[in-house]
Symmetry: none
Subunit: 461 residues, 2 copies
């Protein structure tokens, strides 16, 4: 049966690609209010598509963007249930001029589909949707019960999903939740996520005057908010990349020798950093390897900075204000609220006289760790190994997925995380893409995983 | 003779006001293309008016707005020549709704003429025009040769005047140039501009990666160009506002006790800074007064800064690049090229490893200092003292006036700068106005100045 479904998926590859192209053409940018209608369009498209392939599906309204919920209940109620998570919203495409083809005109080139969201996350959750479609078309049903929960606020750290999960624990009840929102190490080396970092994201505005001032009349006689902001930010890290905020590292767990050895198996080096980013060198806390710095160490980074005249040529103004967006990645043991408060306190402490600060907070989440011995995680491991031909590595990821925390808290079940994308997919950057081969492998891995879960001891939900 | 001309001017006050009202009714807003015809209308009106009062006048075309040139040559060619500068273009009047009377329906209220351009600069150069008219009507000639150069791009920082001056040095040859485009300190306290600061303006870009990176995947593992730029910029000034660039102050002339005492006569205080800017306090080199910091000390200021995600909400990127626009105001003794090189060297020296820098240069100009001992400046001083009843103060201005440098370079003669406006004239703001008394005093001062120049040793031109 499994082989028949896999063969059907292979035969339907072109159709699967067309579905993805349709979805990627919808500019569902959650960060930009101008795209509010596109957000609804994407959620509508998805719920219709899930109905088309044989699921019960609808849009669940939230105080923010709608969540697409769909399910197929196995006639045998003792069969296990898989909950599949995805997000249909995408990052802003800017700078548009850096794209070779339009970000919302999905384009196939050299074995890749180029589009904003192709890899993060439309392509990855659509692999699961296509796997379900293959099962349904080939066998008229699925080996287990399946639920989809596809949200629209992942890229803006929206809190409405957490609320939805907390209020709908019964609806979402499952034996395992699956998330594909990460990367393979290479086309033949799968990686299962063992841990994720948390996130604190804030914005600070430094203000001096009530309007931009003439730099000839007032230069040298008032604080410059851009200089004040530079001086505040410059002091938050030392010259070797350590965060200097007092207490920042207090709750960071010291890695054991065994953990450092497991992390060292990941063939991730300074050379990777250089090759993937175009930077001339890696840079970070000198006491740790790049792999440790990515997964096991917290960070503080400037995500954006602006103030004063930023157009062409010159304008002799002193800016009235200057602003920065800042975020910290957190390891599992750190409390986001505590870290946010410490960063804010330190920014305030460093603020020079004559400058007033205001803050905006763009969400926070804690880090998470997965139990690798859970049978569902072992099933994922087997499905990945059969698909890619290599035993998966286990990674402490640098990124943050608040949904993992919310699902763990509400459902108390393992979270199986296997990424279908590649490091070179340019997610969150111009020319985002998804390898068509990766899409096919994702579909296969999902087909195998559903099969394995269907054959597990029943009644865990 | 002088007294007769002054009496004639007083008798003709109403007529002088009517001329100004006619000119102010023309909305010659240079920044707004919709007013292109009004710009031509104003320049045409002016050249006709200058012909009416007995000068040879015409419009000189440039690649931008026309320059009105007029002259009256004294029959005795050894008599000195005065070149009078002004600008007939005005700031945009917006927000219109904030005006009590229409900005281009000049209205007399409470001893003021209310109109856009009444003080900046139509009223001020028309005082010179009316002074010339008084001499001509009363004596049939002038005590010296007079040239007018009235441009139409001052409010848009147009470069065509500089080109015109450079190409027409012979036409503009004079013994002294006069500029009235500034303020009295009060109705009874004239101010002669002794110095203006120069300017160096540059832009620096810090680059790390070839594209924006995901802050979860790469945060903590590469340099962040926004952080690197913040660290570079933060180090260019100390916590008290002193520029730390090595050699930055080397060529700054130390003020003598007498100079400091002269500057201290200007009643400009920290309270002014607070009232005018809305800042909570003044801030700058603690060893100097606000007046000294404005005119006698060089500055380094950030005019703009940008990098990474600057839209609404959050985007978890590490910027590929971050940039800043920086400028230095220079005092007369400083060499702009030297200062630019020192700032660039220091930025390079402070650049952390893994960050590459590139620079753009947006021009430079030196500061200017007027020789107060030049007989023409002494003549201006005497004319001002006789008119206002108080010995003029000498001000070091914080801004830069390109026309002053252009005239100095092309003509090599003293620039006599005496403003006829008041600080409360609302220039560049709604309800711009010019006190009718100030207009009359401007006319008187100009009549006296022309008389004094006419009685000077001849042949300096």
């Amino acid at each position: 049966m499994l082989e028949t479904v896999l063969a059907a998926a292979r035969a339907g590859e072109q159709q699967s690609l067309e579905h993805l192209i349709e979805l990627c053409a919808i500019p569902s940018v959650s960060a930009q209010p101008a795209h509010a209608r596109d957000i609804r369009h994407a959620s509508l498209w998805l719920s219709e598509h899930l109905r088309d392939i044989g699921l019960r599906a609808d849009m669940r309204e939230t105080a923010g963007n709608p969540i697409v919920y769909a399910e197929w209940r196995h006639p045998d109620p003792t069969r296990p249930t898989v909950l599949i998570y995805g997000h249909y919203d995408v990052q802003p495409p800017e700078p548009i001029e850096a794209w070779t083809s339009d970000p919302f005109t999905p384009t196939v080139r050299d074995g890749y589909l180029y589009a904003r969201g192709a890899s993060d996350n439309k392509g990855q959750f659509m692999a699961h949707v296509c796997a379900v479609e293959s099962w349904m078309r080939t066998t008229g049903g699925l080996p287990c019960s399946v639920k989809f929960m596809i949200e629209g606020e992942e890229e803006i750290g929206g809190t409405h999903l957490g609320e939805f999960i907390a209020r709908n624990a019964a609806l979402l009840a499952c034996d395992v939740a699956v998330i594909s929102d990460s990367e393979l190490l290479s086309r033949t080396q799968p990686v299962i996520t063992q841990g994720l970092r948390g996130l604190v994201y804030l914005e600070v505005e430094a203000r001096v005057a009530t309007r931009d001032l003439h730099s000839g009349s007032y230069g040298g006689n008032v604080q410059n908010p851009a200089m004040a902001l530079a001086q505040i930010l410059a002091g938050l890290k030392d010259a070797e990349g350590r965060v200097t905020v007092p207490g920042f590292y207090d709750d960071v767990r010291v890695l054991s020798v065994a953990e450092r050895a497991e992390l060292a198996r990941l063939p991730f080096s300074e050379a990777n950093i250089v090759a993937e980013t175009g930077a001339s060198m890696a840079f970070g806390e000198p006491e740790f390897t790049v792999t440790e710095r990515r997964g096991a160490r917290p960070t503080l980074e400037i995500n954006g900075i602006w103030g004063g005249y930023t157009g062409p040529g010159s304008k002799t103004v002193l800016p009235a204000t200057a602003s920065a967006k800042l975020s910290c990645r957190l390891v599992p043991n750190q409390d986001p609220a505590t870290i946010q408060a410490r960063v804010v306190d330190e920014i305030r402490r460093r603020c020079p006289p004559g400058v007033s600060l205001s803050f905006l907070f763009h969400g926070m989440s804690a880090g998470t760790l997965i139990d690798l011995d859970a049978p569902e995680i072992r099933a994922l491991q087997a499905a990945a190994q059969d698909t890619y031909g290599a035993r998966p590595l286990f990674a402490l990821e640098g990124g943050s997925l608040p949904v993992v925390l919310d699902l763990q808290r509400a459902l108390g079940k393992p979270i199986a995380m296997l990424g279908f994308g590649l490091p070179e997919d340019n997610i969150h950057a111009p020319n985002e893409r998804f390898a068509i081969e990766c899409y096919a492998h994702g579909i296969e891995a999902s087909i195998r995983f559903l099969d394995a879960i269907g054959r597990m001891p029943s009644g865990r939900a």
